[in-house]
Each structure stands twice: as C-alpha cells, then as structure tokens.
Symmetry: C2
C-alpha cells in the first residue's frame, strides 16, 4: 500500500498531516517581513508559536498582537483562528464539498469523527449547520459589538470594523487574541457581554449546538435531547457556577481582579473570570495577580476544559463527568454507570479514563519541563501547561520570546490539546482487531 | 437493628470505629505529663497529630521524638506503630483469637478484607503468618542493627538496644519516626542497609509476602505466583529503578543530598532516596533541600505509594498498574485489559479508577487548604499532602506545632490514607443490591 493510501484510510493520520501542513504554511507566512509592523524577519520560534497558538485556537500571545504584527500578519492570524476553530477536518471537507460537490468516504468519516456524528449521510447537512452556525454567531457578535467599540475608538470607523470582526471571530472560536494593545474592554457590558455569550456558546461544541437547534426546529422537549447534550449542559453549568462562587468568595478582596468597589463591576469581572478560563482567555491583565490558590483552581478548571468537538480543549466536560459517574457507581456498589436513565457504554468509560490519564501525564511532564527550562514556580508551570493544553489562552508569563525551549514545550501541549490524545494514539496504533484470545480473569487487590 | 449490630454487620464501619477508639486512647496517653520529657501537659493538636501519625504508620513528626517525649511516651508511640502496622483489624482479630480461640464471622470477614484474602477458613493460618513474618522481620532487623548502633552509641548498651528495637519496628512498619535526635545514620551501610531492606519488604504488603512464602514452601516456580504478586513486584521494580535514575541524574550535584564526593556514598543515598519516599520516610534532613522538580517527582511517587494491604499508603502500585493497563488497552483498541495472560475484572478496573480519582481530589483539596492555612508554596503543599496521604513520613515543614489547622488537615489525610477511601465509602453507603433496572446504553462523545 502506498503512503497516500495508508494516510487516506487512516483518518487520524490524515488529520495530523493536515494540521502539520497548516502549521508549516502559517509559520512561513508569519516569518516574512510583511507580516510584521516593523518589516523585520520574525525568528522561527516566535512565528511557529504564534502559528500553533492561532491554529489550535489557544491564543496565548508571545508578542503583542496589535503592536508586533502588521495588518497582513493580523489577517493571517485571523484566518488561522477561523480555520482552527472550524476544525481542521471540517474545513477541509467544506472546501472539498465546495469544489467537487461530493465528499470521499474517507473524508466524510474524518469529518464525522471530528463533529461527533457517525451517520455519513448526515455529513452534508451537518457541515451546512456548522458553517451556518459559525457565520451567524460571528455576524451577530460583530453587529452587537459595533456601537460600543465605535464609542471606545472615538468614531474611527475602519478601526472599529476591524476590531469588531477580530473580536467576533476570536470570541466564537474561543481564541484569546485581542486586536488592540490594551486588551479587552471588559469593564463595559456593551463589549464584554456579546463576547462572553459568544465564547460560552462556542465552548458547548457543535454536537450540542446542532442537537439543540434540531430539537427546537422539530419542537422536541429538552427531555428528548441526546445524553451528550444533557451531560455537557449540566456539567458545564455546575463548573461555571462553582467557578463564579470561587471567584466571588476567594478573590473578592483582590484589587487587581476587582479594582472598583462597584458590585456590578465585580459581578461582571467574576462572570468573565468564571467563563473565560475554560477556553477563551480574553482580558488577561489580572491573571498573574490572582492568589496561588486561584491559580490551582483555574488550572483544574482549564484541565477539565469545555465541550467535545468544540473550539475549546481540555479533557472535555463529558470525560470529566464520566469519571465522576464511575466513582459514584463504584462507591455505591453499582455495576452499571447510569445517568439520565441511560447506561454509559464500557468503551466510553475506558476512553474517558485513558484520555484523562494521558492528558494528566502530558500536563505534568510539560509543567516539570517548564520548571527545568525556565526555573519558574510549580504553580505557574502547572497553570501555563494547563492553559496551553486546554487551549485556554491565559498566561502567567512563563513562556517568553527570549526562551525558545519554553515556547516549543507549550506549542507541543497546544498541538496535543487540539488534536487530542485519542487521535494521536489511534494514528500511531495498528487498526483494531477483534480479540483473538480471551484470557481467564484473575482478581487482584487495589486501593 | 441495634447500633452494635449495624456496626458488626458492616466491616467498614467497625474498622473505622476501632481506629477512632485507638486514636482517642493514644491521644489521651500522649496528653498526660508522664509522656513528655519535661513532665508537661502536651496540647491537644500535638498529641492528636502524633497519635494519628504513629497509628497510621505515617511518621511525620511535629516535635522531636527523642527530645520531646519521655521513655513512656516513646513506648506508647512504638506500640502505636506496631498496632498500626499490623493493621487495625488484624490486630483486633489476633487479640480475639488469643482470648477466645475462635473468631466471629464478621471479624473474620473484616480481617480477610484487610489482608486481601477471601477464604475465611484461611484466616487463622494467615494471621499466624502475618504475625510471624512481622516478628521474624523485626527480630532479624534488630539483630543486624545491633553491632553498628553499638559503635555509634559508643558502647551504651541500654541506648543501643532501645534504638535497635525502635528502628526495627519503625522500619518494617514503614514509619519514619527515629529514636535519636539527629536522625538516621544512613551514611553507614551497617545501619542503613538493614533498615532499607526491612522497609522495602514492608512496602510489598502481606498478600505478596504470604504468596511468596507459600510458593517457596510448596516449591512452586515464580510463574505460578498470583497475578497480584507479579503485578506488585514488577510495578514496584519499575518505580524504584525510575526513582533511582531520577535521583542520580537530577540531584547528582545537590550538595545537601549528596554531601561527599564519594560515588559509593552517592549510590547509598540515592538508593535510600529511591526506596524511602514510597512509605518509610527515614533520614529527612535532606528533603527540604531538593529541587522543586524533585519535589514534584517525589509527590507523584508518594501518591502512587506501595503494595496493597501493606504498612504503606498511597493509591497502591496495583491501582496505578491497572490505570496504566486500561490506557494501554484503550489506545491499542482492545476491549479486554490483559496482563500476564490474565484479564483484569471490570469491577477491579472501576475500583482502581474511583480510588485514584477520590485520592487525587483528597490530595488537591488538602494541598489547597494547606496553602490557605499556612501560605506555603503549591509545590510544598502538594508534597506535604501527598506525604501525609501516602503515609510517606517525609516533610518539608509545612505543618508546625504552632499552626493547629495545618496539623488537623494532615491528620485527616493520614486517616483516609490508612483506612482507604474504599473502606470509608463502603462504610457510609447502603449495602449493595443487584441492579433492579438495566437502562439502555447511549453513546456520548468524550475526549
Ligand atoms: K483559547
Ligand atoms: K511512613
């Protein structure tokens, strides 16, 4: 079998190949002088890191986006975010669909696994909804942002349009890049709220948005939503509320996070702090100022991440929910893992455990490497590794343009965070085969 | 049903009750003036912490054992270590066996679960082996320690005998208490090696020792050892070798850990550093001097811990092995979790996942609480929480006699570490029942 055939028959490998090609392309564009404000050649680590950060929709900046890159460079970054956000495979399929009006089976399967649906016949309509939802969400956010940004920019129309577009794309795709040097104007509801809602919808993931949109169309009650939608919404809700409570309780007196003595302002900031770390990462000015305890809490939150097949990373909320459900079943002496009157299949349980373990190992190895390379604190290293892996976009400044090793470590975390450990594991493993021998069971003592 | 009946029919509850009574008793004895060197009343947190630390065989000291406590106090501590090491239930059963020559069924079941055997008829012979192995191991260690300790103590016979006894009990039971104010004389092979080997055997756990002893008696080849024995030995071996490599590579230049430029001395220290953190915790002088990276590594090692039903804690090596095996099976596309040509039962897999998750949550909550209470670094808080939970006995000095809250947090970690999250979960849960309804399966997307 030729290399091309082997790649095409193996969705995981193709997915990784596409992503690598995109990274190479964007890195090349960013290296060139016309991508920078000062017409200089960017050094390789900075261009590579920025390309990975944008394509993975992570958004950790290593240089100031608005000041370092030229308009061309910023357009490249914006396109990278949009391509990364739509999903590498989804984008490839959309292009193929537009070009040939039909999809190869291998590409359909790929897109299907990316979007979390298994019915090949549904792919075309799914792609339409994905692209449609993205465009609608971005246009709505863009429109809502215009009036307030117009005021902030004191009537400069070109600047306002560009910032609104950049924020709209960046928010829905959950990337933390900001088009202005001072960071996000989160202290105004007019800018903060549309971005917050757009980012939150983006974290749910296409399968959830799709399911809700279809259910509303068919006038189905929420009880008939899929198990995946229910589990994602409930877990997300619990995580956001816990997070909101944590910020209001622990960081109430933190002047850097809550500068004014205005309760409305505090609530706005806390809401933003509760929703954003899970994937968006706007408004990063206050992050290095939080207490170490909050850094630990945020690291855990980022590690859990957001919805499956969303623009956000982490082990995903459903993975976390399955682990908790296994604990619940085990500690109450049940054999079946049951939620919302449905059993979680055993294969899904094994996947959840292995994804969590692999990601935990990745984050710990990444954090320890960062400590070796930069000499930073453990808590900062964990925060930065979790943020990169979960595509969170926050940073406490461990990676710097002067330390290439630290940038490569974080870029590695982002790539795995975007592609997912499962994709990579499947790509390097042989195709699955039925068990040739079933060995006898033997008990061991654990715990 | 009366309270006594409900306790007796529920092994987990009885186990917790026994342990609480022992803690209360030892705390009371240590509170009294004749337990201290200076004939003063010890304050409650210090007495409680020392009682829990000794009974759980953790061994983190909050006062200098040899200088603060009187001979009576030290004898109380020594007995606590021995009772804690034999296992609360095993000890209770031995007493009952000695008194009445027969065991109640509930007590047999309890001891069975403690020792990891399920055949009730074997309990008596198991108890004999447990007690016998303990006594033999301690007498051998005691004898081997005598000549070198005699030299160290410059011929003081009483002092030598007492130190040898204390070390022998403390080593096999994996408690880090030392009878001399200066700490362990690990820079001499004559003292270091017997303690090291005794501690290592103690970490394997009674079921492994029992299985090997029985196999040798019956002249069975190692191939016919139980799966539990094989898995424990292999995982332990890998962990110790990894640990040894880490200390030699990362800490080679650390003057506090390897003071002399003598390779033999360096190997001895590295060996001790590789074996001890997993549960024994002797020779603590160098611990606060290691690099933060090594603290992270040691925390992971302590979290994994040692063998099931051993005097050491942690999630146990078999639990860790099962998690890794699940990952291996999942990433290579296998449905069965197979090792040494045996399938790991599904119930064991669920137990391993839930124990690991619960213990991880416990350690993180403990570490964050320590940060709130003492204002220490995250890395130190994690180290101390892991050490307490895994009954490791090392300390970087986060808990101090002046901060009662920190002592109570660590004591809580030790109690859970000793009893195990499973015991506690079973104790508070209702008795298991067969599943009344089997709900239909539904797929979700994870990872
Ligand atoms: K992001
Ligand atoms: K110990």
């Amino acid at each position: 079998i030729s290399l091309a055939d082997r790649l095409l028959t193996h969705p995981g490998r193709l997915s990784i190949l596409y992503f690598c090609v995109l990274i190479a392309l964007v890195t090349l564009l960013l290296l060139l002088p016309f991508s920078t404000h000062d017409w200089v050649f960017t050094n390789f680590p900075v261009a590579f890191f920025t390309a990975v950060s944008a394509l993975s929709t992570c958004g950790i900046p290593v240089v100031n986006t608005a000041e370092y890159w030229s308009m061309f460079g910023q357009v490249v970054i914006l396109f990278s975010i949009q391509f990364g956000g739509l999903g590498v495979m989804t984008f490839a399929s959309i292009v193929a669909l537009g070009v040939s009006r039909r999809l190869k089976v291998s590409q359909r399967m790929l897109t299907a696994s990316e979007l979390g649906t298994t019915k090949l016949s549904e792919i075309k309509s799914v792609l339409t909804v994905v692209l449609g939802t993205s465009i609608i969400a971005e246009v709505v956010t863009f429109t809502l942002l215009l009036p307030e940004l117009f005021r902030v920019n004191r009537g400069q129309i070109g600047r306002t349009l560009w910032q609104a577009l950049f924020y709209a794309v960046s928010a829905y795709n959950n990337t933390g890049f900001t088009p202005d040097a001072t960071g996000l104007h989160v202290n105004r509801w007019g800018v903060g709220l549309p971005i917050l809602i757009s980012a939150f919808v983006g974290t749910l993931g296409f399968p959830v948005v799709l399911n809700i949109v279809q259910s509303v169309r068919r006038r189905l009650s929420p009880k008939r939503w899929t198990l995946h939608t229910k589990l994602t919404l409930v877990t997300t809700g619990i995580l956001v509320l816990t997070s909101l409570a944590w910020f209001l309780l622990v960081e109430w007196g933190n002047v850097a996070l809550f500068p004014a003595d205005d309760p409305g302002m505090k609530l706005r900031r806390a809401l933003s702090a509760a929703v954003m770390p899970r994937s968006a990462g706007f408004d990063i000015s206050w992050v290095p100022e939080v207490t170490p305890e909050t850094k630990v809490f945020m690291s855990l939150l980022m590690f859990i991440g957001a919805g499956s097949s969303s623009t956000a990373g982490g082990i995903r909320v459903t993975t976390f929910a399955v682990i908790i459900l296994i604990c619940g079943a085990s500690f109450t002496g049940h054999r079946d893992v049951v939620v919302f009157r449905r059993r979680i299949p055993r294969r899904i349980q094994m996947t959840a455990v292995s994804v969590t373990t692999a990601c935990f190992a990745l984050v710990i190895v990444g954090a320890t490497s960062l400590m070796f390379v930069t000499g930073c604190d453990f808590v900062d290293a964990v925060f930065e590794a979790c943020s990169a892996f979960s595509l969170g976009g926050y940073s406490v400044g461990v990676a710097s343009a002067g330390n290439p090793s630290s940038m490569f470590i974080l870029a590695g975390e982002m790539i795995v965070g975007r592609l997912g450990p499962l994709t990579i594991a499947y790509a390097i493993s042989r195709p699955m085969a039925p068990e040739p021998i079933r060995y006898p069971q033997e008990n061991i003592i654990v715990g």
